[in-house]
Symmetry: C2
Subunit: 491 residues, 2 copies
């Protein structure tokens, strides 16, 4: 018999591309999501929570010519050979849920959902394979009022979580207008139309002149490679350029420019009408162009969506990793997609919705100093005499009953310095000390750890004497005095 090898110890690490979240990273996100879903709820949206696991068939990611579902999702085979996968977004499960339960759900169906999604992609700095989304969608209505409502709600969400008015703008565009532009250009060939769409998607990067070149003969990119163009004449390309640059000083001006860009196209005119109606509906609710603006240069997602497309951008500047100022950028996006459940039922059902990039929005709030003030740890009651644990536990119980976060030190109490180091690591505001001497005199020592740290850093001897960071109070005054200190620290 071969000698049995001892199994090596497992490595204590997350799988590649996954991470752990600690303390305030968890609670701040939970609080932000609570506020956002509060707004969604106020708008009449209902919560939906589907499972993390769907059949690959329902997700629609299965390629018939490979054994294994394609890249992008985490998938595995069930015991009965069915392929299951982790959801990669919250829209695919919504499509499945709506198709499955449509007879029991109200029409239109307004639903919100939040939770992690998973992508089997190459992780990178700040790019994880599990991240949160927080979506709201309205299913079953083609009304532009549904799109307008989503945009108004998005503005409310941003303000509710702490992005002040003026620090964000929601830009809106409409795919139908672009379709009208393509019609006017005489681009009817599907391949050519797709090439034009791809070019438009590059507008953010290459600008007006770059798009001109790419629609025509082509251009040299930054790396020196020559990118072939779509091959349109300058004249033919003109409506696209007019479309992309049609943003005017006012909504009226923008709409007029768009009308001219779509020429005689009926589809294009319908798109411009929708945008006009959309702007009027928002104006009626008090959402002016300081918050929600028609901006034909918003092209992200135009290839995917079928009507209005919207994107929320934060407009304040931050300093990037190289020290250069730049705009914070996009934190949410969405639009209208009109065949949500067709795959399942054969019937097209119109839908419109938004997805908030939870982690980017959290990063923005931290950047603005709206969250992430150092999280306050618990009051730590130190242990001077292990046999008197019951007394210490009674103290923390009293503190908690008064609404003060508190705990007793549960490590080895022998080294008192370790207890204070522990309190420091926990960001405790206050430590409580009661030895046998204090016990006999029915008093406790209260140590103000925040003040103590300040004094250690900068105080002169005189100041130190004047404002001692540790003092004695009668046991009966414990809760009141601790509260005073914590309230004082918060100021």
């Amino acid at each position: 018999m071969a000698k049995q090898k001892k199994a090596p110890r497992p490595k204590a690490e997350t799988p590649k591309g996954f991470r752990d979240y600690f303390g305030s990273e968890v609670t701040e996100r939970a609080e932000m999501l609570r506020k956002i879903t509060g707004v969604y709820h106020a708008y009449g949206f209902d919560a939906l929570e589907s499972a993390a696991v769907e059949t690959v068939e329902a997700l629609g990611k299965f390629l018939p010519d490979v054994d294994r579902p394609n890249e992008g999702v985490f998938a595995w085979q069930d015991e009965d050979e069915k392929w299951l996968a982790l959801r990669y977004d919250l829209t695919a499960p919504l499509a499945r849920v709506y198709a499955q339960h449509r007879n029991d759900l109200p029409t239109p169906y307004r639903r919100y959902a939040m939770g992690p999604v998973w992508r089997n992609e190459k992780p990178g700095p700040g790019r994880f394979r599990q991240f949160y989304q927080c979506d709201a969608d309205t299913v079953g209505t083609a009304s532009p009022a549904a799109d307008a409502e989503i945009c108004a709600m998005l503005a409310d969400c941003l303000e509710t979580v702490g992005i002040p008015r003026g620090d964000y703008v929601i830009r809106v565009n409409n795919r139908k207008v672009l379709n009208g532009v393509l019609e006017t250009m005489g681009v009817t060939d599907e391949a050519q139309s797709a090439a034009v769409l791809r070019t438009i998607d590059k507008f953010d990067k290459v600008g007006e002149e770059g798009v001109r070149q790419l629609l025509g003969k082509g251009r040299l990119d930054a790396s020196g490679a020559y990118i072939d163009g779509v091959g349109l004449s300058e004249e033919q390309a003109e409506p696209v350029i007019a479309f992309l640059t049609s943003k005017g000083a006012s909504t009226q001006q923008t709409l007029a420019n768009l009308r001219s860009a779509v020429g005689a196209s009926a589809m294009g005119a319908e798109g411009v009408d929708e945008l006009e109606q959309f702007a009027a509906l928002l104006e009626a609710q008090g959402y002016g162009s300081d918050r929600i603006v028609i901006d034909p240069s918003v092209v992200r997602g135009l290839g995917y969506y079928t009507g209005p497309v919207y994107e929320a951008e934060l407009t304040f500047e931050i300093t990037d990793e190289k020290g250069r100022p730049r705009q914070f950028g996009s934190v949410a996006g969405g639009g209208r997609y009109d065949d949500l459940v067709k795959r399942f039922t054969g019937q097209a059902v119109p839908a419109t919705g938004v997805s908030i990039g939870v982690d980017r929005l959290l990063a923005a709030l931290r950047e603005k100093g709206r969250i992430g003030g150092e999280a306050q740890g618990p009051v730590v009651v130190t242990v001077m005499d292990k046999a008197r644990m019951a007394d210490y536990l009674a103290m923390v119980a009293e503190l908690r009953q008064a609404g003060i976060r508190a705990e007793v030190y549960l490590g080895n109490p022998k080294n008192f310095g370790n207890q204070l180091k522990y309190a420091d690591k926990r960001a405790s505001p206050v430590a409580i000390i009661q030895g046998s001497d204090e016990m006999e005199r029915d008093v406790v020592q209260i140590k103000d750890l925040v003040l103590g740290a300040q004094i250690a850093e900068s105080a002169t001897l005189e100041e130190w004497k004047e404002r001692p960071s540790q003092f004695e109070v009668p046991r009966a005054e414990l809760v009141g005095r601790v509260r005073e200190i914590i309230e004082g620290q918060a100021r």
Copy 2:
């Protein structure tokens, strides 16, 4: 070339054993979890959120002699051949996190975690393959005060979510006492010791006499099959029986009975001392035996845990599916497990913790009528004239600004009856109606849908006339009058 087959439509269904949660099912759970984590936080516990995905190696479920991880978890191979899996509980990830980050974490480390876990098990009625857990654990201390704290915290959690004192009891037992009993019995053989443990686990089902038989020669079970016994003499089995039935009228009596059951065993005496200390610590904080009680008949988990074991039971009666009254039973459990991270580091680290069965506790709250009063839908502003959508949107915006959940009807407005049916499906408290006539006179119709339903069900013509469920108010009074109605309905 073979004729291309059209792909069949995918089925709109969850994978077997998974389900969707709608509306209040989601929000009630979120609210309960928020309350529980609020208590955990007050006790000084910090949030931890690990990813749903772990390496199978870290979870410790990989069997070296099979290609595929064993049953029980959902697992798959990563592109670099590593096996990944969905977590099956929150304790295994805690072990990995603590081993990975132990140098940065405080010691002791109090952490809470909540979220879904996944089990690749055969689903059954009420048994799903994804469900929630909400855990709190203290890592890095062997102090009985840590166990006492968890039990006090569990009592606070139950009361905070709405289980009144008297409707629950937390029963505590201690594995060391049992070990002492085994020592006294002279059971040292590991196989025999395991057989005794398995028998004890059947105490709930077979009772004292059954355990006697199973420890001795064996017994006929209900199906008529003969179950072989452990083969102990009656005298030898006596200490186990004494242990299982040692609960007395008071904590003191129970402790005395246990001392007699463990005889001369030092390990047993240590266990009884721990229980005594444990009870004293809780008593000092005001948690008497009306809430937390030493009960040696609690045997669930005694095989798994190494010290104290605790279980929260709801003591009120419910009616089961066959109409018989029965106790609601267990909603949380936990205990001390003293080699949490040994697999990773080789070093034993003591830990103790509790896991709340979120779905069972939710079911209990619904049973008690503490939650699940019909969730109130939004006020629905109906659409009498599609061209005046902006006016209707302005109404809902006003209602929301006053904190009233509200939405405009976004379906096809042609059939007014459908709009009221929709409001009904949404459980709307109030519908608002403004046609061109009302518009001209600057009034709105307010329809009290709750009162309307009551009248439709039971009112006489006189009552109906006296309390009309629909009335007209000036447009300016819309918000105030809607608020009055909703507040009236809530009473």
